[in-house]
């Protein structure tokens, strides 16, 4: 229980672990945490070593930086290199490798690439630079997509025409479905994503119990939240129930944020197909600008190569994202692929399973082994 001592309420954590151990009994349960933020918490706080061996956590595809395929990075670089463009990206995306380098490299070669906190900051740069064209590299699930939508509405209302969006927004439900359809993986339930659920609410997850017969519990980001969600999943299984439950009622409501959903729908429509790293093409899984917003759509304004690029052979991000292998089981983990020189996306973002494991998890593992040996 070494790690539990560092939790906010160690006594509550111990009680939850005891409850989980009792509920799991002699069984073996595999739960996937969908969200990269949860993966980070799990490795940061050594949760995998706190849990009994009867409960295994599998990391899912909920890191939007990690699921962007290489071809889209190449497209982003092509747009960034177009004459007169200021290309604005979240910091996380700058080091994601494409087939010929990343945005940091493009910047070094002369492209005007800048990092930005908010799409509204990108819009402001457009207003301040009327002789340039500003492209915002939009990435993220429904957590950030409403912000891009609100920014586009403002660009339209204010008549800002030297601004466009390269949309790589994705939606949370299709990858969960793809994982449930995947023959590689046997799961007993899901720890549902937190922040994205503040927008989408709980209803979109109902298909998980109803169609696939797996429970899902939406969880917060503290270690105690994740432990409690696991206990709730096991309780459902023990009681023969299977439904969507909400552990994170402090932030997530049943209906989500209706206004955010409404403006998402006003500005975006589903793409027929979008490629996800590791998961391949998933239909209706990503958002593009509606035709009414064509003037602000970077994919229509610029020559975008749109070439599909296979992942590097050595990189196993795809299997990590599907939960088929753990980060340390990848052949290049920690040797050729590190946070300083990432080969795959999972090593780039701090919420990627590989980076989280590299930074925290492996140390906890060493401690756990040492503590285990000393017993």
């Amino acid at each position: 229980m070494r790690f539990v001592d560092e939790y906010r309420d160690p006594a509550a954590a111990r009680a939850l672990v005891a409850r989980i151990t009792e509920l799991a009994g002699d069984g073996h349960y595999k739960f996937m945490e969908v969200c990269g933020g949860h993966t980070h918490t799990i490795y940061r706080h050594g949760i995998e070593h706190v849990l009994p061996t009867s409960v295994e956590l599998v990391h899912g595809p909920g890191c939007p930086v990690c699921v962007i395929p290489m071809g889209r990075i190449d497209d982003a670089i092509a747009v960034a290199q177009a004459p007169g463009v200021i290309f604005m990206s979240f910091g996380d995306m700058m080091r994601v490798p494409g087939s010929r380098g990343n945005l940091v490299g493009a910047k070094a070669r002369g492209a005007d690439v800048r990092f930005v906190y908010s799409p509204l900051d990108a819009l402001r740069v457009a207003v301040d630079n009327p002789d340039r064209h500003v492209v915002f590299f939009a990435v993220g699930f429904e957590t950030t997509a409403p912000s891009t939508a609100a920014t586009l509405l403002r660009a339209r209302d204010d008549g800002v025409t030297n601004f466009s969006v390269f949309s790589n927004h994705v939606t949370i439900v299709p990858p969960i479905k793809a994982i449930l359809e995947s023959p590689d993986l046997r799961l007993d339930g899901f720890v549902g994503p937190g922040h994205v659920s503040t927008v989408v609410g709980q209803r979109p997850y109902r298909f998980v119990p109803e169609v696939y017969g797996k429970p899902l519990v939406t969880a917060g980001f503290e270690p105690l939240d994740i432990l409690q969600a696991i206990a709730m999943l096991l309780t459902q299984i023990n009681e023969g129930r299977c439904c969507v439950e909400n552990q994170y009622t402090r932030c997530v409501s049943e209906a989500g944020n209706p206004r955010a959903l409404a403006i998402l729908n006003e500005v975006f429509e589903l793409r027929p197909h979008f490629e996800w790293r590791g998961l391949g093409f998933i239909s209706q899984s990503a958002l593009k600008l509606r035709p009414e917003f064509g003037e602000w759509d970077a994919e229509l304004r610029f020559e975008v190569p749109g070439v599909r690029v296979a992942d590097p052979k050595a990189c196993q991000c795809g299997e990590v994202l599907k939960g088929v292998i753990k980060p340390w089981e990848c052949k290049v983990f920690g040797t050729a692929c590190t946070p300083e020189t990432p080969i795959g996306t999972c090593m780039v973002s701090s919420e990627g399973a590989c980076a989280a494991y590299y930074n925290f998890g492996r140390l906890h593992r060493e401690v756990a082994v040492t503590v285990g040996a000393a017993r």
Binding site: P64, G91, M93, S118, D121, E222
Partner: protein, 90 residues
């Protein structure tokens, strides 16, 4: 980018633009509160902020717990705060 940072709304600004001033990680920056229009955000409210937009109202206890959790993230949190500091939403 995925990190939601709690902030305390200190002042409502231009109501047409749905802007508010918020105290985020010790700095005061403008945020967009249009996505919480139905919840009538007022000074003193705590909100969860993603990329400059308030996405959900939260209570102060949750805000403090979330901040404590974020501070444990180290570099990822430092990067996010650095990004917030450079933000100039207007």
């Amino acid at each position: 980018m995925c990190l939601g940072i709690p902030g305390e709304v200190v002042e409502l600004l231009d109501s047409n633009r749905h802007l508010a001033k918020a105290d985020v990680a010790g700095v005061r920056r403008n945020i967009d509160v249009s996505l919480l229009e139905d919840e009538a955000v007022v000074p003193g409210d705590w909100v969860l902020i993603h990329v400059g937009f308030a996405m959900a109202k939260i209570d102060e206890e949750e805000a403090q717990r979330a901040l404590a959790g974020l501070q444990l993230m180290g570099q990822a949190y430092a990067d996010e705060v650095r990004a917030v500091i450079e933000s100039q939403i207007s």
